[in-house]
């Protein structure tokens, strides 16, 4: 008996000290201490989930139908690696990139609010190719396509126009244009190893170059509606292309007009190919194709060796992001965004504020309630509850668990549930006392008989926490984790810590009345 008590006491004190040590960094109280002392103390704090600090979550599915079967097996894993690389360069603190299910990828970006940018940076394939422009074939190809009834109106009546030998179409027909260039039916009109492609959209902006204004003016006249921008059609020779894989470096640069651009360098074989193609085609145009969109098609003035520059309608940010994508490499499979959550920072800080308020109010009421109901014994339960809270915070920090809003709810719920064990024990002790047993016997019987009940009740709650963890997603998992930690530590405080204190009380008060 005495040995058991001493063991309980030692365990309680050790766990308490450890819990305080590990919980301290999270409270921020250690920040004031000198570095020399802090070195010896734990540093891990509780991580906040995305719902508490703001940011975005993207979930994407790989579209396996778009790639060859033999590439499918490791496509998602390779995509995962490339996305990791891109995200790392994005400059987000603690991003999480993980595989979900078979073909899914989930990306968590704390603190990010520019959703469009993040989506472009992560989700776009960034397949870079260089191909020769063979627009002289365009009239023939388009005449062929016009024979297909479904595109006849687009080509012969309204949609695509020949302006000074070049072919343009206004933004309004974007969907149909894209359907057309992707349609396998048009392949028979396009020469072998060639592709009919669109440029990226050229938008009319205050700073646009003169030629854009000119084209827009002519398109408006022909189309009969206001035009905000347009596409141009190109035929490209993909017989001898240079792939982006041959790049060794890419970085944000400025072109000769000071506009943002991306400069790149080739590896040896890419460099050789590039030099040869440009040497043989001086006076022609070389299209820079990104994800099947012609970004620009510069004039080949002379042979180019080793390095080049991509210019286009980029902002500095877009050019920088493109450089990141080129450095990380192309995604081996197209990804489709299937879920997107953006949480603003104010919602997160509001949630923390409300969560902490609720926790403190709940804690205060429960503490008072236990004291009023069980007097001195209630204070023992209150002490256990407070130690319990410290252990929960310490455990979260120690295991590097992420605290989400449902997680805070889990902790608050634990406040209510943690005292349950003590209620069961106290009621049992009262019952034993009513049956006429003396104080030490009643305490001992109370703890022993309540033990099984407490164990059974808590194990079933643990089972549901386990199911929640296994089948739930991000935020819900946070709830399952805090709930499970809370239950386990409440069993410890209720059965070990209070038991030790009660045994000491029993010895001291002997047969006098127990305040319960």
């Amino acid at each position: 008996m005495a040995r058991k008590r001493r063991f309980y006491g030692l365990l309680s004190i050790l766990v308490f000290i450890a819990a305080v040590l590990f919980a301290l960094p999270t409270t921020g109280l250690l920040d004031e201490l000198p570095e020399g002392l802090r070195k010896y103390l734990p540093k891990d704090t509780v991580n906040l989930g995305l719902d508490l600090k703001g940011g975005m979550v993207l979930r994407m599915e790989a579209d396996m139908s778009k790639i060859d079967e033999d590439e499918q097996s490791d496509a998602v894993d390779r995509a995962l690696e490339i996305i990791r690389e891109r995200v790392d360069e994005f400059g987000v603190s603690e991003p999480v990139v993980e595989k979900v299910g078979e073909n899914g990828i989930s990306v968590m970006l704390p603190g990010i609010r520019d959703a469009e940018r993040a989506k472009a940076l992560i989700g776009e394939r960034a397949v870079l190719e260089f191909a020769l422009v063979t627009d002289q074939q365009l009239p023939e190809v388009l005449a062929g396509i016009a024979r297909l009834p479904k595109y006849a109106d687009l080509l012969t009546q309204r949609g695509i126009y020949n302006i000074d030998g070049r072919y343009y179409a206004p933004l309004q027909v974007e969907e149909r244009l894209e359907a057309m260039v992707e349609d396998p039916d048009i392949e028979r009109f396009v020469p072998r190893q060639h592709k009919l492609l669109l440029t990226d959209e050229k938008l009319l902006q205050p700073a646009s170059q003169d030629w854009i204004y000119e084209v827009v003016g002519k398109l408006e006249e022909a189309y009969g509606e206001p035009v905000d921008g347009f596409f141009q059609l190109h035929i490209l020779d993909f017989g001898r292309i240079i792939k982006g894989e041959d790049l060794t470096n890419a970085y944000l640069d400025r072109d000769q007009y000071g506009k943002p651009s991306v400069s790149f360098e080739f590896n040896y074989s890419g460099s050789e190919d590039f030099a040869q193609i440009t040497r043989n085609n001086v006076g022609g145009f070389l299209a820079i194709v990104l994800d099947d969109k012609v970004i620009s098609s510069p004039y080949i003035r002379e042979e180019i060796n080793g390095r080049g520059q991509i210019t286009g309608d980029f902002s500095a940010q877009e050019a920088g992001d493109l450089a990141i994508k080129l450095r990380a490499g192309a995604l081996p499979v197209p990804l489709k965004i299937v879920m997107e959550d953006t949480i603003g920072p104010s919602l997160g800080s509001d949630s923390i504020k409300y969560g902490v308020t609720a926790a403190l109010i709940g804690l205060a009421i429960v503490l008072v309630f236990m004291f009023v109901w069980y007097k001195a014994s209630g204070l023992v339960a209150d002490l256990a509850l407070i130690i319990n809270m410290i252990i929960v915070v310490a455990a979260l920090a120690l295991f590097g668990a992420t605290l989400t809003l449902p997680g805070i709810a889990g902790i608050i719920l634990t406040i209510g549930m943690a005292v349950d064990a003590n209620v069961l024990i106290f009621e049992r002790i009262r019952e034993e006392l009513r049956a006429g047993k003396n104080v030490p016997t009643a305490i001992s019987a109370g703890y022993d008989k309540a033990f099984i009940t407490i164990l059974d009740a808590n194990i079933t709650t643990l089972i549901t926490a386990g199911v929640l963890y296994l089948l739930g997603t991000g935020a819900i998992r946070g709830f399952a984790v805090t709930l499970a930690i809370g239950i386990l530590s409440s069993m410890f405080t209720a059965l070990i810590v209070t038991r030790w204190i009660f045994d000491m009380r029993a010895r001291r008060i002997k047969d006098k009345r127990l305040s319960i």
């Binding site: 149909r176 953006t342 643990l462 929640l468």
Partner: protein, 500 residues
């Protein structure tokens, strides 16, 4: 303090009344679900778009009705402060249903001559028709509809699939556009204080600058020199072209005779003016630059109180965007089935555990009580018109674990009393056990109820419904462990004895 020290209620006798009450609540839930065409499922399960905004002032019921009629979307407040609003559009008008409706329509009425015809299809989202007109001439002709040799209608699945995925994109696009329209269109409520910045009037950056300078006239004079240099040095590297243009503009202003305001005012004004051209969802991006501008203001020596004013005043329009969620319909389906699986798995595991620890008849009582708790809580949520989403499912699962606690306390005592009081019948033993454990059942639930109710009241908007589900569930769970679990244990036990 003590309650129920020597209670001798006959709980078993009251079981029929309890069954009737429970049945009524569950039935009412079923009827209300039936009448309103299913549960109010969140976009977690249906797919769709959900946007949460916080207004500077509480929103009136009139405002909500207006949003609702103007947009045709679900618009409702959440939390208890009445200033946070959710605008939601579900994708459950599932694309496939629409695709099939169009195909069927073609089958009955022949080729579609005019897209407006689609309006005749029941429940067809009229607002999508213009998009259809623009996009679908081609695909519609590709769809093959014919009768097979047994005169059955055959639709080529590939065609429907293609159309479905196109319609899916359309729904997503149109929803985004609608929500954007709503967000850019939101007007401040009538009681929007006059001294607040009117961010909805047609104002330019210069107007904002003037307005902000007026608001912060004192600081304008005092802090000017300290900040004018900082921001330009910082951003010069990034956006040379844009920066140059802005500089020119600034010079113009100075030439006109107005002194250049401090940098934070210029920045804020530019951001606010830019915000007017941003579409709704993009306003989230604005917050980033606003933060930076506010940071500048702080560095410029603006005191916390004034900063707070600034922060409160710079609602874009009269609101701030809190969060956006876009969930594809397929993910929704997955999440839905995962939720269902998790509840079933939890129930089965608990059934197993109780069978091992007690007897199978105890497990039957416990499981029926748990299913009862879930059904009644769901029923009450349906009656209240509350949304069922992932966090509500998490709450239900928690209940499954928690409401069992009380049941186990009673069962434990039944098991114990059976050894002590061998000669008594099970009915009497159960009654005694419930009475003996009554005070602890009420107390343990009571402490948990305290915290869940505190969460409902003070936990904030996001957690509100989750906490409400827990509160209802704890109440129902306590009731069921007394009136449902034990009577069913008894009933099962008697049924088994009769059989044997």
């Amino acid at each position: 303090m003590q309650i129920f020290t020597e209670s001798k209620f006959d709980f078993i006798k009251g079981r029929k009344v309890a069954f009737i009450i429970s049945a009524i609540v569950i039935l009412a839930g079923v009827v209300s679900v039936f009448l309103s065409g299913g549960f109010n499922l969140g976009i977690d399960f249906t797919g769709g778009v959900r946007v949460q905004v916080k207004f500077a002032d509480p929103v009136t019921l009139g405002d909500l009705t207006e949003f609702r009629t103007r947009t045709g979307m679900d618009v409702y407040t959440i939390g208890s402060a009445e200033d946070e609003v959710v605008i939601r559009q579900k994708a459950e008008d599932s694309a496939e249903r629409l695709a099939r409706a169009i195909v069927e329509y073609r089958e009955e009425q022949g080729p579609i001559e005019d897209w407006e015809e689609l309006g005749e299809i029941e429940d067809f989202p009229v607002e999508l028709i213009p998009y259809f007109a623009e996009t679908f001439d081609l695909e519609l002709n590709l769809l093959e509809v014919r009768l097979d040799d047994q005169n059955r209608l055959v639709i080529n699945e590939a065609g429907v699939e293609e159309l479905t995925s196109d319609i899916e994109t359309l729904i997503e696009v149109s929803t985004n556009e609608q929500i954007t329209a709503v967000l850019t269109d939101l007007r401040p409520p009538d009681n929007y204080a006059e001294d607040r910045l009117d961010l909805n009037g047609p104002v330019s950056a210069a107007d904002y600058r003037r307005e902000l300078s007026r608001l912060f006239s004192v600081e304008t004079a005092a802090v000017e020199p300290a900040v004018t240099a900082a921001p330009e040095a910082e951003s010069a590297a990034d956006e040379v072209v844009v920066e140059d243009l802005e500089d020119v503009e600034d010079i113009d202003e100075t030439v006109e005779g107005e002194p250049a305001p401090p940098a934070f005012i210029t920045e804020l004004a530019d951001e606010l003016a830019a915000a007017r051209n941003l579409t709704g969802v993009e306003t989230m991006r604005l917050l980033d630059s606003m933060d930076e501008a506010l940071e500048l203001a702080r560095e410029a020596g603006l005191d916390e109180e004034r900063l707070q004013v600034l922060r409160d005043e710079t609602y874009v329009g009269a609101f701030q965007l809190q969060s956006t969620n876009v969930i594809g319909p397929k993910v929704g389906e997955e999440l839905g089935s995962a939720a269902l699986t998790s509840i079933l798995v939890a129930l089965v595991l608990i059934l197993g555990y109780i069978s091992v620890r007690f007897e199978f008849s105890f497990a039957i009582g416990a499981i029926i009580a748990l299913a009862h708790d879930v059904l009644v809580t769901l029923g009450i949520f349906a009656l209240l018109g509350k949304e069922i989403n992932l966090s509500i499912i998490a709450a239900l699962l928690t209940l499954v674990g928690y409401s069992l606690n009380d049941t186990i306390v009673v069962f434990d005592r039944v098991r114990e009393d059976r050894k002590l009081l061998r000669r008594r019948g099970l009915r009497e033993i159960i009654n005694t056990a419930i009475n003996e454990t009554l005070s602890r059942t009420v107390l343990t639930s009571g402490t948990t109820l305290i915290v869940t109710m505190v969460l409902v009241l003070f936990g904030g908007s996001v957690i509100h419904d989750f906490a409400l589900a827990l509160t209802i569930g704890v109440l129902v769970g306590t009731y069921s462990s007394i009136f449902i679990a034990s009577p069913f244990l008894l009933a099962w036990y008697r049924w088994r004895q009769k059989k044997a």
